[in-house]
Symmetry: C2
Subunit: 221 residues, 2 copies
DNA sequence: CCGGATCCCCAGGGATACTG
DNA sequence: CAGTATCCCTGGGGATCCGG
């Protein structure tokens, strides 16, 4: 990227990660851990192969990512974040919280992947009752399964399924996301097509991680 | 900007502010308050007038900024941030903290403005001794004056001069910034051309605002 | 002088095809 | 699978010009 030529840490940061797709590549590596080229390509629907290739080269040169050869059974190269790359997490988190305000808009053609929903829960929600016992929620959105665990004040999540969850919810991504972030109550979510089975009371423990951003209306205006 | 087409709050956020110059425009309005076209242009050295014009139009449409007609004596239009625009502050702050690691590199041609240094102090530094009495520092870097006040755990700053500061420091931007962020000690800063007069002991109260980013080496490698 | 609009040119991004 | 190569087109940089 062409430099902004300004002695300002925001501008210099953008000199490095301001290019198109760059922050999303970091997002993928942050969420998925070390990835193969094809994993990244799948996690970034819409990116052109040459662009991904060139971005990876630039990011490696900037020492945000490093290539490593995977152990024998796989025998391919893996791309992983360096310390500098991982240090972008707070910035991505803040941007993700800000971007929540645009998640209400329904764009049917948008791609959707399970791990995006997973980080949505883990990064963007807080447990309001840290003293309460841990609970497990089996989430499914657009057919993609995610497990959310509320444990001692923290909200954690991963892609996949679990046995005997305290609660199961299923529905379109927008409604499920609103429910997980505490921005939608169950009534509202059910109107948007969510079905819930089990201890629906645990949902009241979830509140949006604020950064004093204030709540956002996830229902389309 | 062309949409990434991903149902992810980071991607949707970048759909709005991911274009070149956009975040820097928000930075200016955040630091300077409502601005005229020319003020923005001066605060964004390097931007082409047509780009600024088109970005302002897009940002207004996205409801991040609003135009208002200034009161009679000025009689020009002012651009100011809306609530959504101001909500970007945490993201810009996080990015600015991350970008600090690139502030060590010396690029003689980079532009430098006083208010960038001012936010550098206020956003990126913390007072380690909130109980201690308030102190005032008169800073000057590259001829541009900034006042930094350490008051009850908070670090505040503004462009300009004050009377009877507890400490005066003067030197090249890189060294002054390192000193204000607690990343450089006085000895190191003096080697980079800083001169200090007054209560140099108050500098020990400044520490970098972490976001667990860890300290950064501001001296060139 | 302020607040842009217009024009031209080039670099960077998108789509697809091709190769080790 | 992991990229490269190619072509095309849009979007950004830079200068100039114009109305208020």
């Amino acid at each position: 990227m062409r430099s902004y030529g300004q002695y300002c840490s925001i501008a210099r940061g953008l000199d490095v990660v301001g290019d198109r797709w760059t922050l999303l590549i970091v997002r993928e590596l942050l969420l998925q851990g070390p990835c193969r080229f094809t994993d990244l390509r799948n996690g970034l629907p819409g990116i052109a192969a040459n662009l991904l290739s060139s971005r990876l080269r630039e990011l490696e040169q900037a020492e945000l990512i490093s290539r490593e050869d995977a152990p024998p059974p796989v025998a391919t190269t893996l791309y992983g974040l360096t310390e500098s790359g991982r240090a972008l997490e707070p910035a991505l988190k803040a941007l993700g919280i800000w971007g929540l305000r645009y998640m209400a808009e329904d764009r049917p053609d948008d791609a959707f992947q399970a791990h995006w929903l997973a980080y949505g829960a883990a990064w963007l929600a807080t447990d309001t009752d840290p003293e309460a016992p841990p609970v497990t929620i089996q989430v499914q959105a657009d057919g993609k399964p995610v497990v959310v665990e509320i444990v001692g004040g923290r909200v954690e999540s991963r892609v996949g399924r679990t046995e005997d969850p305290d609660l199961e919810i299923d529905g379109p991504p927008r409604a499920v996301l609103g429910l997980l972030n505490g921005l939608l109550d169950l009534d509202g979510a059910e109107k948007l097509g969510v079905s819930a089975r089990g201890r629906t009371d645990v949902l009241s423990r979830l509140r949006p991680a604020s950064t004093e951003a204030g709540p956002v209306d996830l229902v389309e205006r």
